[in-house]
């Protein structure tokens, strides 16, 4: 189980987050929505353990994967090395399989600068899933992609989540992305930001309804 209990997070004197509390089960997917600049990415950085400076407690698994807003790759290492250096336990064969799964195995020896943005995103996705994370944190992973590539990436993410089954926290602006990937939607509002609502997504409600119908 993942438990988030943030009493307060401030930058300098400015309080950004207050009383953010929620728990989530293994394999559960939560979307975090809210206006730009509200503190969604800050919250994600706290959850991922990047920023330890806050008041409160976060219980998270050891194995975390993260997909950033930008691909954040090592531009001086080849695509396959971007997997093997970050996950040293991964052999070259497994790394190539991970690249094959996201459709860029033919680009394995190229540097990230030689890949298109869509291919870089796929590489970042492969890196996140290659470590078999227990928690996957995604910070607006489809931003700045054209609609077709975004749709492809969304479908690929869905499939990879279904295959590997991590708990997922997804920050997004897109209601449709949230509805499609997540079971729950947390909406941040106010300043400092707090959880304004914590609701099941339509897809969850529909599936529950279907279960009830079947029952």
């Amino acid at each position: 189980m993942i438990k988030v209990d943030i009493r307060r997070k401030a930058f300098g004197g400015e309080e950004i987050l207050r009383d953010i509390r929620f728990t989530m089960d293994a394999s559960e997917t939560i979307a975090i929505l809210g206006a730009s600049g509200i503190g969604k990415s800050t919250l994600l950085r706290l959850i991922a353990g990047i920023d330890p400076a806050f008041e409160g407690e976060i219980i998270r698994p050891d194995k975390i994967g993260m997909v950033f807003q930008e691909p954040v790759l090592l531009p001086w290492r080849s695509a396959v090395e971007n997997l093997t250096l970050v996950h040293p336990q991964l052999g070259t064969e497994a790394a190539l399989s991970a690249l094959e799964r996201v459709g860029i195995v033919d680009k394995a020896r190229l540097f990230p600068g030689q890949l298109s943005l869509g291919q870089q995103r796929r590489l970042a996705l492969a890196r996140a899933f290659a470590g078999r994370p227990d928690l996957l944190v995604m910070d607006e992973p489809y931003v700045s992609l054209d609609p077709r590539t975004a749709e492809e990436m969304l479908a690929l993410t869905e499939a990879l989540i279904a295959e590997t089954g991590p708990a997922v926290i997804l920050v997004t602006h897109s209601e449709s992305e949230a509805q499609r990937l997540a079971r729950r939607c947390l909406r941040l509002a106010g300043r400092p930001a707090t959880i304004a609502s914590d609701l099941a997504t339509t897809s969850t409600l529909l599936s529950r309804g279907m279960h009830q119908d079947r029952a």
Partner: protein, 253 residues
């Protein structure tokens, strides 16, 4: 400017030729070989000094001192600069020192080292190292400040091991700064080494220049100075540029 005159290969070949031409014209106008000899007038004394073994010996001594000063100056300067760029408290404490040492004339440090330590090799090397550390630290501090915070976050999330992080995340980002510090460093260090030798050593290019300065032998001063410039150009072409090209390979593919 026409496109022909902007071709890199043509420029590389023409630029030194132009310098040589300027020298020839200046020597012609001076019309006094004891003040400025023609370039070809240096060939005979160069050959003689090289054949006697005196020139290679002094070249070797200077090169040895350059290496002895370059390695610790780069290592200490890079470590200090990195810490100053990464840890604000260290920067706050050491920045005033850096300003003092950056503004301290090389000559003052050399004289003080000779006075405090004695006219020996240790003092000579320490004087050069102390002169160079602040420059290296300043360049590397900028490099450390420019490190990509997103890559830092990525390395942290994926729990990359400290050595792997240093080798694959930090060092490639610092490489251009290290290369810049090394190239400017080696150029500055050999000039300071010459001053050190001029003032207080009995070997090296600086010592020989001092010797021929007293004899007012401009030709031999030029022979020794140009010989070492030649060595440094070789170091640049055979060591520094290839390693820099290798480091920057990912940018150019």
């Amino acid at each position: 400017m026409s496109k022909t005159l902007q071709r890199p290969a043509l420029v590389r070949a023409s630029s030194p030729g132009l310098l040589l031409l300027l020298w020839i014209v200046a020597a012609k106008l001076t019309a006094d070989a004891s003040v400025l000899p023609q370039p070809w007038a240096l060939l005979a004394p160069f050959a003689e000094a090289a054949a006697s073994g005196v020139l290679p010996y002094h070249l070797g001594m200077t090169l040895w001192r350059v290496v002895c000063a370059f390695v610790p100056a780069m290592a200490i300067g890079a470590a200090l600069g990195f810490l100053m760029g990464r840890i604000p408290a260290v920067d706050q404490w050491l920045d005033p020192w850096l300003v003092v040492f950056l503004n301290l004339p090389a000559l003052v440090l050399i004289v003080l080292c000779y006075l405090w330590i004695g006219l020996n090799e240790t003092a000579a090397i320490i004087a050069v190292v102390l002169n160079k550390i602040p420059n290296v630290a300043t360049i590397l501090r900028e490099g450390a400040r420019a490190l990509d915070s997103n890559l830092d976050a990525m390395a942290k999330v994926y729990r990359m091991r400290p050595l792997a992080r240093l080798r694959h995340v930090v060092m490639p980002q610092l490489a251009p700064f290290i290369a810049g510090a090394a190239r400017s460093g080696i150029a500055v260090i050999w000039k300071i080494v010459l001053v050190v030798e001029f003032l207080g050593r009995s070997s090296g290019i600086g010592f020989q220049i001092h010797f021929y300065f007293q004899l007012f032998d401009v030709a031999m001063v030029l022979v020794y100075a140009l010989s070492f410039i030649g060595v440094m150009l070789l170091v640049e072409a055979l060591l520094l540029q290839p390693s820099e090209r290798r480091i920057r390979r990912w940018r150019t593919v």
